[in-house]
Symmetry: C2
Subunit: 360 residues, 2 copies
């Protein structure tokens, strides 16, 4: 990380001039100020106090995530980040990240100009204007659930999806389920891809049949369930793993709408453990993401990067929360097309290419 | 994490009695002291100062890793851990971990009795006596390159093997290599398994042929090269990726011994970037693990767990260090058995089962 002296050396000016440029001093030209800011960005300038991690300001950018009320997914993440950062004397500003704002500012320059030593991004979309800039940023940046390859200034923070999905599949398998469907969230989202991959691996290592018709992507909303649940049931599924709790709530409604019972006929597992999960009927067995810890972990990743430790991934433990939506597997009456099931053992190349969009 | 009050409540004694038990006070019976220590272990007791992360003692256990001289793999890890911990006022004791010692003490109890708030383990073998105890420990414990499922008190620290191997394969692919062999370290070691998995995925995503004869496990020493290099060359390999720098040094020697040239005939890539790497002839292209950062990262993982944040994996960025052992692929004279090569496209189930020992 560069110092004011580095910027002064590069531009052939004094440190006090650099200081004026960075701190809004009046008696320098706008051109020189711009040059100082651009050089600060290029060299990866960080203030002395931030470098020593004694104090400074951190930005918490929120794009596509509800954070305002206690029942929102992001609320506790914001709280956890604030608590951990404040404890070390960092000020935290929460900044809504609109596309207009991103289009009107360069990320690195904006951060230097506004004296933020680092940022944690929640809900950043893959097509966000700043996403490309993060591939080369010199500003310590932590991203919830997004992985950027090769840049030592960017860390991915999230829940360990491998372990999470394996816990869910293991729980269902221990209850006797073998035909476990997976109704995943959006294709192209990194967490969805990781979870699909984890599902395939977890099924394969248990020698459970993977049926391509029982492993699908759709969207992270309840409404997608009605389209897939009937074909899952026709396909012989006795359990449905869902990409998040909202999907799971839709699945419970669809199963019930078909005159079947959760969990007696179909076990259902969610992902996230939103406040909604325990209010469902039956209460939802789900994978808990500890949102307060996801917040704190974002700060820890920044703390490490500010100390020049290049964190790639900082992943938290998931927890399996067992409630009423899963039960011992009971054989059902034969499905309509028992001989038409295209089942494959383990992960084959077609499955791999069909499902796993490598994100590296 | 439990307090002295929790222990006192459980045993029906006063907090001052618990304090005597934990701190070696004289006027309590040995039976009561044992009960207090056992209860402290059971409840996961941590001292107030350690809980507040103000000060305390951390153990750095070293089993199978050379750390004493600057050229040893572990030296900078120890330094990095010490620096980061001392900065936050933690005392660090480096403790050699013999099997005799492990067999004579229970891990949790020993830690409580000796007032260590947490530990970082380097080189812990899968068959070590304390390994089983780590599945259920209540003491914050970070493990370099070992993953223990489901225990929120244990974190895995390491380099991101997925990204590391993908960088190496990508580098060779960009140079025109398609038949890339992988001479891996020991089967059953978690890092070896992760690296084999990463190799299969990286080859598959680039649509490169995976030949089972070109992807083998052996040991992390130079001497294994002579056995495998001739068959790699017969199999048409133009590049050999190695599980570590020692293997790579043996591969360079073997290739040269066969009258071929590195990198003109065969490109070679190592892993680790030991001091040895740049002294080889030609100097070795390799994946750098930043050992100082691996040390600091061990402390950061402990810091997070002491604050009750359940880190699963804390993975660092690898760096590709390009030196003289890799070059543009040049076609070689046809190999002996060009039609006998059993090549498979992408990852198939047999490959999966043959190579990937899932470690979860």
């Amino acid at each position: 990380m560069a110092t004011m002296q580095d910027i002064a050396n590069r531009l052939g000016v004094s440190v006090s001039t650099v200081s004026k440029g960075l701190n809004g001093g009046r008696d320098i030209s706008e051109d020189l100020r711009a040059a100082i800011l651009d050089t600060a960005v290029e060299l990866g300038y960080t203030s002395r106090s931030a470098r020593k991690r004694e104090s400074g300001r951190l930005a918490l950018f929120i794009e596509n995530m509800d954070c305002s009320s206690e029942s929102d997914f992001g609320y506790d993440i914001v709280m956890g980040f604030r608590q951990a950062a404040n404890r070390d004397n960092w000020a935290v500003d929460v900044i809504p990240l609109t596309k207009t704002f991103q289009n009107s500012e360069r990320y690195d320059r904006w951060m230097v100009e506004h004296k933020y030593a680092g940022a944690y991004f929640l809900g950043l979309a893959l097509d966000s204007p700043w996403m490309d800039q993060l591939y080369n940023t010199t500003v310590p940046s932590a991203l919830l659930d997004n992985f950027i390859p090769a840049n030592p200034n960017v860390a991915c923070v999230g829940t360990d999806n491998d372990e999470a999905i394996d816990m869910a599949v293991g729980h269902l398998h221990a209850l006797g389920h073998e035909k476990i469907a997976f109704l995943n969230g959006s294709r192209g989202s990194q967490v969805s891809d990781q979870r699909m991959y984890a599902y395939l691996n977890s099924m394969a290592k248990r020698h459970l049949l993977i049926d391509p018709n029982l492993a699908v992507y759709d969207y992270f909303v309840a409404e997608v369930a009605d389209e897939h649940v009937p074909s899952f049931i026709d396909g012989g599924a006795t359990a449905i793993l869902c990409g998040n709790d909202l999907i799971a709530s839709g699945v419970i409604r669809s199963v019930t709408g078909l005159g079947l019972n959760v969990p007696d006929d179909i076990s259902v597992v969610g992902f996230d453990d939103l406040p909604l999960a325990e209010t469902l009927d039956p209460p939802l067995t789900t994978i808990r993401q500890n949102r307060t810890e996801l917040g704190r972990c974002g700060y820890y990743a920044l703390y490490a990067m500010l100390g020049s430790v290049a964190i790639a991934k900082n992943l938290l433990r998931p927890a399996l929360i067992i409630r009423g939506s899963t039960a011992v597997c009971r054989p059902r009456i034969a499905t309509k097309h028992p001989d038409n099931q295209k089942s494959v053992l383990s992960v084959n190349p077609q499955m791999y290419n069909q499902f796993v969009k490598t994100s590296l």
